[in-house]
């Protein structure tokens, strides 16, 4: 595509995947710069996948230190206090990831995601956030959208055995194979704020129950000033009360948000490692599709629940975006 060829070393290492997505997609990957925030199990899975795939660079943001919870689903951190004492999660993950693929530059950025300005974000092609409040998600998504350069925004979260991915590629042009031909396609995405503002009653009847349940939890944490995941079974009555209010407000039948689902989501907020692997895999695939501009990308939510085993795509966009 731009005349630059893959090196011998790259061709040997990436042989099996070049057979899947082609040499030009591999070249685009090697020029992509990705920012991730929230180094828990799901993001660790995602980082592994894209570092192996051979992106250009990966920047990690997470100044928290190791806790038992942080270790629970994260295979990037060696279980050795001598190794992890005094280091942030981002630094520890960085050390491991560097080792995965010497051809990818992995680094750490210290600081708070919401305090970074547009200039910082403009260094990246893809921004992925996890474990942050919905205010922060909206803020980062808007910062990316304001820039003249198009930056793909993704958020991913795993609670217990449920997970959600959100995708905003703004105006995305890509090619796909249809029978013998390669055709050009275009998709217009909604921002996170636009997507979650879509009135519930106009959504199709079969929209994933997880979508509504996660919005209730999100609103609850925000109203209570909690960090994401800082809920317990003791909060269930208040969460159920909020659910009723929101359903009334949106004229949505309450049966669309089963109490049992909300109970699961508040009683255990730890990531379930198999679900981290699934979400990190799907997200990795999507980011690779987005960068390479090859194949239909996910638009614009993905839900997985280990209870029923379904991995569902939902398109929840405002009218301008659909």
């Amino acid at each position: 595509m731009d005349g630059e060829e893959l090196t011998e070393q790259e061709t040997a290492l990436y042989d099996r995947q070049i057979r899947v997505w082609g040499a030009d997609a591999q070249r685009r990957l090697s020029k992509a710069h990705i920012l991730v925030c929230g180094m828990k199990g799901t993001i660790a899975e995602f980082c592994k996948n894209i570092v192996l795939a051979g992106i250009g660079s990966l920047t990690l943001v997470d100044d928290r230190v190791v806790t038992e919870e942080a270790l629970s689903a994260n295979f990037l951190i060696p279980l050795d206090e001598n190794v992890y004492a005094g280091k942030t999660l981002a630094e520890l993950c960085c050390d491991s990831l560097k080792d995965f693929n010497p051809m990818v530059r992995v680094s750490v950025e210290k600081g708070d995601l919401s305090s970074f300005g547009g200039e910082f974000y403009s260094k990246f092609d893809v921004v992925v956030v996890s474990c942050c409040s919905f205010t922060t998600k909206k803020l980062i998504n808007e910062k990316c959208r304001k820039l003249s350069k198009r930056i793909a925004f993704y958020s991913v979260d795993c609670r217990d055995s449920c997970g959600e991915i959100f995708v905003d590629l703004q105006l995305h042009t890509y090619s796909k194979k249809k029978l013998e031909e390669t055709i050009e396609c275009q998709l217009q995405y909604s921002s996170f704020e636009e997507a979650i503002s879509v009135p519930w009653k106009i959504l199709p009847r079969k929209v994933s129950k997880l979508y509504f349940a996660l919005r209730v939890i999100e609103r609850f944490e925000e109203a209570e000033g909690r960090n994401p995941g800082e809920v317990s079974i003791a909060d269930l009555p208040s969460v159920l009360k909020l659910k009723k209010e929101l359903c009334d407000e949106h004229s949505l039948n309450e049966s669309h948000i089963p109490d049992a689902l909300l109970e699961r989501l508040v009683s255990s907020t730890r990531e379930f490692p198999p679900v981290c692997a699934i979400l990190g895999g799907i997200l990795g695939q999507e980011v690779i599709k987005g960068i390479s501009g090859k194949g239909d990308p996910l638009k614009n939510f993905f839900f997985f629940d280990a209870m029923d085993g379904k991995g569902l795509i939902e398109d929840i966009s405002n009218s301008a975006g659909s």
Partner: protein, 642 residues
């Protein structure tokens, strides 16, 4: 989800993983993170560079080491307190017997071939241990649960037969690049560098093979004191020039075909040029045989380039020379290996020269390697997703949560909004010859077919037995094992060469044979039906086994996909049509045909169909049923008569 009950089921479980490759690495990691304490892992492979893009437990410095052992060490770094027992061995080894399997609560497969999958399936059935089976190719994947007596076994649904090519297409009338690859790899490479005693069809079509066979044998032997360069050119001229001329002399063959063009080295290369090639030793700085490369010696770098006839000819001669100068001690014992750079170079060049001769488009080394090595497209993300799904099913199995077992398919293009589609497992197929005791029916010419044909084509190739034993009533006709005395070995060897009706205990129409595999603890009965004639095109084996659903034939809905350029960007699944059929009042059954382009790269040859049914019971619990779906098979050849 992570209930106390679940937690104790995980803690107390002893699990066996078979395979520490693409799925295996992901699976071992996810098992360890999920709290599994006692994991055993079998893998016979060592680590290759091309594994490193997805098998994340391995590093460059591990190349050549045991996958099972390195994977264990890597996982212990983040979960040091758990027990992982590695076996650097083949799962088909006799020590992995039914008793070995019985010690586990569940077996998890992350394998890459049909043969081993069938073997593990039988051991799990015999040991009555649940099996969670998996496979991926590109963006596609699947996880299935097999519980004896409750769900179908891995072999209840027939698997697509490996693609085969008639020998005559390979030796005389290639029309596709894959035919040239099979010729270069299975015939020419095997002839020059492999076991000299092996039967080889390389010259099968040179006019009258019987009279000239002595002469022909000599052509491939390097004469005493013969210059390597000269020898290489002699082989070149023989296979690309002389043999083509001989084939052309058979006018009958070319009536409705394009005539190939003989190619001689003098027409492609001038003598000066090739002489100079000999002086590139300095480029092969290391003595490690695996790093010897004709491309490097000739200063060619990009494996994605399509070389012309001249470049291919230079690579051919250079590779041949390097085999004789740098790897002479291996000659006579070599088999083609996709990770052997020099072998891939030789096969690519030979296939391309042959393709040029037959007017078939030439291909790059990268593409040729994919075809020759049956390379399955593989990415880390699909393996990670599949590993997650395996663990979810394994946990259900450990809790005996029968109602919630699911088979799950990971697809590239969503069907009914789903990228991950769970399906209720099927019941065992009552006519499955593996997990039920249904006898099979074999139609065979008992006056012509030898016991050897039966053993090779039915017992080994079709029934997938490893250590077979064949009985007619109480008479033992054939047996394999280490503990046989010489007289028995001689007796069985003699039986192999006898036609069925002339065996000591004659096998004729109406006979029932019992075939057993002592290692798999699997046996089945075969009713013999004598039949005089077989269609050479449709029944090339000269025998037909039935009794459970036969493998799907490669006909009908298949469309031909142009091979050129498709290897690197194949879209494996394309939903092609959707129709609704009524099954029961009020219940609609949707049927979507999915035609699948398998991971192996010669797309037009190795396409198979899958039927995907979506059950819509107007509720949220959509079920999707997908038939077929084994994800690995290999081109091989089959015989046809001239």
């Amino acid at each position: 989800m992570a209930s106390q009950q679940q937690f104790s089921a995980i803690k107390g479980a002893k699990v066996l993983m078979v395979g520490a490759g693409g799925i295996g690495c992901e699976l071992l990691k996810t098992l360890a993170l999920s709290g599994f304490q006692d994991i055993h892992i079998i893998d016979m492979d060592t680590i290759e560079v091309s594994n490193l893009n997805r098998q994340f437990l391995f590093r460059q410095s591990h190349v050549g080491l045991s996958k099972a052992r390195v994977a264990r060490d890597a996982v212990l770094r983040f979960r040091p307190q758990i027990s992982i027992t590695p076996y650097h061995a083949n799962v088909k080894d006799s020590n992995f017997n039914v008793d070995f399997f019985k010690q586990f609560n569940v077996v998890l497969n992350g394998l890459d071939n049909l043969d081993a999958r069938r073997h593990v399936n039988r051991l799990c059935l015999a040991a009555d241990v649940p099996l969670v089976e998996s496979g991926t190719t590109g963006f596609l994947g699947q996880v299935t649960v097999h519980i004896k007596g409750k769900t179908e076994c891995y072999e209840c649904q027939p698997k697509p037969a490996p693609k085969t090519y008639p020998v005559c297409t390979i030796t005389s009338t290639p029309t596709k690049f894959v035919h040239c690859i099979v010729w270069a790899k299975d015939l020419l490479f095997a002839k020059l560098f492999g076991d000299k005693n092996q039967e080889n069809d390389l010259n099968v079509r040179s006019s009258d093979a019987s009279s000239s066979s002595n002469h022909v044998e000599d052509v491939f032997e390097r004469r005493n004191d013969e210059d390597i360069e000269q020898y290489g050119r002699r082989v070149y001229d023989h296979v690309f020039g002389y043999n083509i001329e001989v084939a052309l002399s058979n006018e009958e063959t070319w009536k409705n075909r394009n005539r190939p063009k003989p190619i001689y080295s003098r027409d492609v290369l001038d003598n000066e040029l090739t002489r100079q090639n000999g002086n590139m030793d300095k480029n092969c700085s290391t003595n490690c045989p695996s790093s010897v490369s004709a491309m490097a010696a000739l200063g060619m770098k990009n494996p994605q380039d399509i070389w012309g006839l001249m470049e291919n000819s230079r690579i051919f001669l250079e590779a041949l020379k390097l085999f004789f100068s740098k790897r002479e001690e291996e000659i006579g014992n070599l088999t083609f290996d996709k990770d052997d750079q020099l072998a891939v170079e030789f096969v690519t060049a030979a296939a391309n020269i042959r393709a040029a001769s037959f007017g078939i488009p030439l291909h790059s080394l990268f593409e040729a390697k994919g075809i020759a090595g049956n390379i399955v497209h593989a990415v880390a993300t699909t393996n990670a997703v599949i590993a997650g799904l395996i663990v979810i099913e394994a946990i259900k199995v450990l809790q005996n949560d029968t109602k919630n077992y699911r088979m799950t398919y990971c697809v590239e293009h969503p069907a009914r909004k789903m990228l991950l589609m769970p399906v209720e497992p099927f019941e065992p197929n009552k006519s499955c010859y593996v997990c039920s005791e249904t006898p099979l029916l074999l139609e065979i010419n008992t006056h012509r077919a030898k016991l050897r044909d039966f053993v090779d084509k039915i017992v080994k190739a079709t029934l997938g037995m490893n250590l077979p034993l064949i009985m007619h009533g109480s008479a033992l006709l054939y047996e394999v094992g280490d503990d046989l005395d010489e007289a028995m070995v001689a007796n069985y060897a003699a039986n192999l060469e006898k036609v069925l009706s002339e065996l000591p205990s004659p096998v004729t129409g109406g006979t029932m044979l019992t075939v057993e595999d002592l290692q798999q603890e699997f046996s089945c009965n075969i009713n013999i039906k004598h039949r005089e004639e077989f269609d050479e095109e449709k029944e090339p084996d000269g025998m037909v086994l039935s009794g459970w659903a036969p493998p799907p034939t490669v006909e009908g809905a298949n469309k031909t996909i142009d091979n050129a350029g498709s290897t690197s960007e194949a879209l494996p699944v394309e939903a092609e049509k959707s129709e609704e059929i009524e099954t029961a009042p009020g219940k609609k059954r949707k049927l979507i045909e999915v035609s699948k382009n398998d991971g192996t790269s010669n797309a037009e040859e190795i396409k198979k169909n899958e039927k995907l049914q979506v059950l819509d019971d107007d509720d949220d619990d959509d079920l999707v049923i997908l038939d077929g779906g084994d994800l690995g098979f290999s081109p091989s050849k089959k015989k046809c008569q001239w």
